[in-house]
Symmetry: C2
Subunit: 483 residues, 2 copies
């Protein structure tokens, strides 16, 4: 007998061809758990279309059979947004084969590429023609353009170039009814009504499935100067940020802060990692200053002057300017190794939060003290993008703690506390990672009711049957998707 | 007897107080015709609330009585978007009294201000604290922040700083149900679900009534260099643009092109205006190069080098670099006087269009030739923001033509022809002015059906009764608003 599921799978296979659909558990399994290992789900099959037309046809088949769709790019999201639930009813839709990069328009500094394009490949393609795609993050070897667009990803260059939204010029997406929204425009200005791509960017696959994007490029880096600074407080780091903004202007591309304990953890964990400065410091700052050919000549000198002035102001206790690319990369490696080094220390709850930039130092001091005071043995650390008012605020369980019970008990309590405080300080419980399934209920608990109602109205208008990434970000009914 | 209208007016007056509502024809009349004189409508009253709470209460009253609302800022829009229809049923809602500018956060470079804030006042407030709001346009003395946000306005600095959307950090708006969407956030990063403010920006008051915005500021101008160039073709102007982008990078803020006839019209019209160059040229380019304190030192020298190199390449036939602010302003005055000088020459149909930047020169040549060939006596001119791929393409009626019959006959034919060609060249029939009522039917005729369907879905979700700015941009039924 043919089950409804068999009928669906046959129809999907007819659309995708033999290589495009599989139900083999071994092939499915790597994509059913998010990379942080927090969420595991099930799926009726894994679809891997090779064209927008195939995605559209597949969505129509899913719609006809009432099969929900979970779109997935590199499976490197931070909030479980690309992991299906455990019902096994959903189709996992991988966009990874949509990885074509069109010839780059070097005059207009634009490129159109498929949703499956891996960020690092995009970086390389731009570099090959003397340009740069100015967004990068730790997962660049797996993160895809479609995922970056769908989550409005951030990274370490937002200070200068903005989040993904600021880099998206055009978009193509398949909507819940199987129609194709096509706006892969090379236009710099276009005011023909609502800017519909903005609705899709950051909607985490709940309003449409991004299949391609036209992206903005910038001139290649002609010179970069990387500085490592030791100083005594986050308040001084903030003062240093303002001083750098004043003196370096738009050349300032990165301003990352790290507490002593995070740096120590990396030095203990990474073989060959060396302390950048001789003495210990309460806080460390990694500064990246960048210029294209039009501003390269005096960049190093200007940076040295800015750091020297900060010394004289008493903001900086010690600093080293990388002597070349090798040292610059070694300094960045310390910053980028913090998550891995931390993971080796045991369970931790992680919070990607923002508050108004000028309040961040006081917020971190207060939140660290409160968390460590109320949860003895827990260590709280904050590191990240001070220039954007965005830190990753992590609370590490006491040594030897068993993971799962702690996550669902104390870990959850800590997260609720931190989110409460973030809201009190007029901040956001998701600065750059999105909502996914991880923060869906917290958004429901703490979000502005008018905003939540608006999101539901838009979700209902575009995907009334909740076929697109159900259970993520926002659901039509306040608790769980409607049937 | 009390008519339904009297009941409504009494309820509205109760919300707004005696100064907040008028039905006096003399007070209403200046706001019932758009500034270009193309559209005239009627309204049951003019409401002038002084707070967001009053706007919200008023919307609830309107909703209860089924009275449509036409929001209006400076009444300086280009597409009749703020002019009511001639039924007289709508309430004209002026946001001009919501003109408070909050204290500027100079560290974070942000300001929050009411929708009624006049652009020029915002410029002055930013300048007073050593900062700059980097969007400007001809109507800066009347255009309001709410109108600029609602139309995603452009102007002469988009090349460097983007349109209004790129400058809006936070937004407050009253929705069709009278609820207040409040996101006047000072956060630089916030990924809590759909970015709802993006839906409202550029929606021309059809989805919500903007009441306030948090805007991005940039450092003050420390040095600017203004250059006037004469050259022989738009193709060379485009080559000069690329050369300037390469050599001047982000210092290049403006790149405006003008044909010989537009410059001649200004020189004939403006008392005291003088030709910048001794010889005649087919095309003129106005270049603005700007730096804040971090890049001011060598700006003039770098600009001179760039122009000298363009001379050597044979791109430029003649050029003058303004010797000071007075001359710089005189050069800009020529560019800004084109619309007035043109208006003095008689009727003209105007098209605010964009095509991919690299195709603009060929498009203009082809479109001018076709229009002038098919409509004897008509002169076609294109001027404006070549750097954005956006020109204002105007067709001037033969001397002595009577306005209204020409607008509804030949003028309409010319517009349809130009819009057809723009679509064929993958361009936009509205680059920066929006749709309003002027281009609503053309958007319906030429727009992408999937995009139009999406717009209707969103409009229906947020304003099912079409109370907000009915008949503008997009209506629920393809032809005219539903009852």
């Amino acid at each position: 007998m043919t089950s409804p599921s068999d009928t669906f799978l046959a129809a999907a296979a007819a659309v995708l061809g033999p290589r495009g659909l599989t139900t083999d558990p071994d092939l499915l399994s790597p994509w059913l758990t998010d990379w942080r290992g927090r969420f595991t789900g099930r799926a009726c099959a894994l679809a891997s279309p090779t064209s927008t037309a195939e995605v559209a046809a597949l969505v129509r088949v899913c719609r006809e059979h009432g099969v929900p769709i979970v779109p997935q790019g590199g499976n490197s999201g931070m909030c479980g947004g690309a992991t299906p639930d455990d019902s096994g009813t959903a189709l996992l839709l991988s966009l990874r084969r949509l990885d074509r990069i069109d010839p780059i328009n070097t005059d207009a500094r634009q490129v159109t590429c498929g949703a499956g394009t891996i960020l690092e490949n995009l970086h390389n393609a731009a570099e090959a023609v003397g340009l740069r795609f100015p967004l990068t993050l730790g997962g660049k070897g797996s993160a895809t353009v479609g995922g970056l667009v769908s989550t409005n990803a951030g990274g370490t260059q937002v200070l200068r170039h903005g989040s993904m939204r600021a880099l998206v010029l055009g978009l193509e997406a398949v909507l819940a009814d199987g129609s194709v929204f096509s706006a892969l425009t090379p236009l710099k200005k276009d005011n023909r009504g609502f800017d519909l791509k903005q609705v899709l960017i950051g909607s985490e696959g709940t309003l449409g499935i991004v299949t391609a994007a036209t992206l903005r490029l910038v001139p290649a880096v002609a010179e970069r100067v990387v500085v490592w600074v030791g100083l005594s407080s986050l308040q001084r780091a903030r003062a240093l940020l303002l001083a750098c903004e004043d003196r370096l202007g738009t050349a300032l591309e990165g301003f990352e802060v790290m507490p002593a304990s995070s740096v120590a953890a990396v030095l203990a964990y990474e073989p060959g990692a060396r302390a950048p400065l001789a003495e210990p410091h309460a806080w460390h700052v990694l500064i990246e200053v960048v210029a294209d050919a039009t501003g390269a000549a005096d960049l190093r000198e200007r940076t040295e002057t800015a750091i020297a002035a900060a010394f004289e102001q008493g903001l900086v206790d010690d600093a080293v300017i990388a002597s070349g690319e090798a040292q610059a990369e070694a300094l960045w490696r310390i910053r980028e190794s913090i998550p891995s080094a931390e993971r080796a220390q045991g369970p931790a709850v992680q919070h990607d939060i923002s508050v108004p930039v000028e309040r961040m130092p006081d917020f971190v001091d207060a939140a660290v003290a409160e968390v460590e005071g109320r949860f003895p043995g827990v260590r709280a650390v904050a590191f990240g993008h001070l220039g954007d008012g965005n830190v990753h605020f992590h609370a590490l369980a006491p040594k030897g703690t068993e993971a799962q019970p702690w996550y669902s008990g104390t870990g959850k309590e800590i997260s609720a506390l931190i989110h409460d405080r973030v809201v009190e300080w007029a901040g956001s419980i998701s600065a750059e990672h999105g909502i996914g399934q991880l923060k869906r209920d917290e958004l429901e608990r703490l979000g502005d009711p008018v905003s939540l109602a608006l999101m539901r109205q838009i979700k209902h208008a575009l995907d009334p049957a909740e076929l697109l990434n159900p259970g993520k970000l926002v659901t039509l009914a306040p608790h769980g998707p409607t049937a």
